[in-house]
């Protein structure tokens, strides 16, 4: 949806993520108490989660994070949602969804490559 060719390391959550209230834009860390990646920094990561949730203001938070330098490198979702799509377009952050294999099955801190519509595990 937002195309990009790049390489990076994964951070995977099994739960839907809200950027408003779920992430601290200043530190880049996840603060959602129910998240399985609470406390982790999403900055510079290939962030993988099922789909977005919560307030549509989340789009503006993604945009703000890009400006502050705390944004993820790219986002890969099982199914893209409006909040994340708009945020990624505004911030020009590469965004993919419906890729094979299921992105949630890729572990944490794995080196992957995004090119066009494909996601490749490098190790």
């Amino acid at each position: 949806m937002v195309k990009g060719n790049l390489e990076g390391r994964t951070l995977v959550s099994k739960y839907p993520l809200s950027f408003l209230g779920g992430v601290d834009p200043n530190s880049g860390r996840v603060i959602d108490p129910d998240s399985d990646i609470k406390g982790e920094s999403i900055t510079g990561k290939i962030l993988i989660y099922p789909t977005g949730k919560g307030s549509t203001v989340g789009s503006y938070v993604i945009y703000a994070m890009k400006k502050m330098g705390t944004a993820p490198l790219a986002i890969v979702l099982r199914e893209a949602d409006t909040v994340t799509i708009i945020g990624c377009v505004l911030a020009d952050i590469p965004l993919m969804h419906r890729v094979k294999p299921d992105p949630l099955s890729i572990g944490n801190n794995v080196r992957v490559m995004l090119s066009g519509d494909a996601l490749e595990v490098l190790e």
């Binding site: 949806m1 307030s55 549509t56 789009s59 503006y60 799509i85």
Partner: protein
Amino acid sequence: MDGKELAEKVLVALAEAKDAEGSVRIKNAHVSGISYMNLGDYGLTFLEELSDQGIKVAVPTSSNPCGMDRELWNEQGVSKDFAEKQARVNAALEAMGVTPTYSCTFPYEGSWSSSLSRGDHVAWAESSAVVFGNSILGIRTNREGGPSALFSAITGMTPNYGMHEDKNREPTLLVRVEPPVPRGPLEWGLLGKKIASIGEKARVPYIDGLGKIATKGELKAISAALATFGPTDLFLAPRLTPEAGAKPVGLDEIVIDGEELEESARRDVELAIKGDLPKAYFLGCPQYGVEDLVYLARLFLNIERIKGEIYVFTSAHALSDPEAREAVASLRAKGVKIFKDTCPVFSPSPKFEKGVLTDSVKSSYYLPQSKGVKPSLEPTVVAFMLANGELEGE
């Protein structure tokens, strides 16, 4: 950034994600997510950057409630700091050509609604208005978010999927209400919640048993509840909605007991009389219209000065009606607090720290999230009992 180009990119990406059949031209748009309480500095900065570029909306665009009554914010208890930030949000939107309606009901109650015809495409980002518009007016809109509606307003287009396509406006479930639903916004809200809670199957419910007529308040309540608690963006009801054809056959069917709805609406009235409930009542979610204000003024006719606290939230377009203004003057003289442009869910004040009563099923979902207060659902008559000093205790 180039705002116009971004807006187009957003629409292309959304259309791609939703497998839309291209885009359709919209007649108007309604933007939400404009309270500074939700936007914070991130949203404010973004909107100011967009408006600083001289971007303008391409179609008539109305705005959802903001975080305060623009005239009475001080009386409402909103801080000066918040008021200044909210004024900047509003200024950014208005500079882009957004009409300052600050109302959740304007899309279907305000002056533009008469120029809409069945089948017209719009992009509205207020879920209760989405259900009311699709169902009662027969217009076509998906449940947009604040940003998606804003970008649609800038381009004048919206991705063609979901509610914009005929195939998604067919009934998916038959709901029979027997005996028919009792009168009142609380009762209709409870019915909406019950139907919405069925989930995906209730995407387009065909509801039999709503009767031939309904008050605007009842229609607003059921629309708001359906949108709040489930996936419904359109309901069909014979004689009430233009797209309801003959009763569908071959669909899954559920029966809802109208008497049970009545009982659950009255369940807490006794508790209220015992004095165990809060002494504040909030009306106007969705915002009160002319009819609601006139009704309340009549209900309170013989009360000289109200007991307890009664809060009413309404809109500038309702107050443009002389009858509504007369009702508001009479209610204010009795001590009823009435605000426009905003609603308790989007505003830092009132806080309802000692709890609150309401007839709005929608706000029973949103107030705990925004204020940490769970309101007690009570029929409108309890507002009268409170005002009339019939509720004992502290």
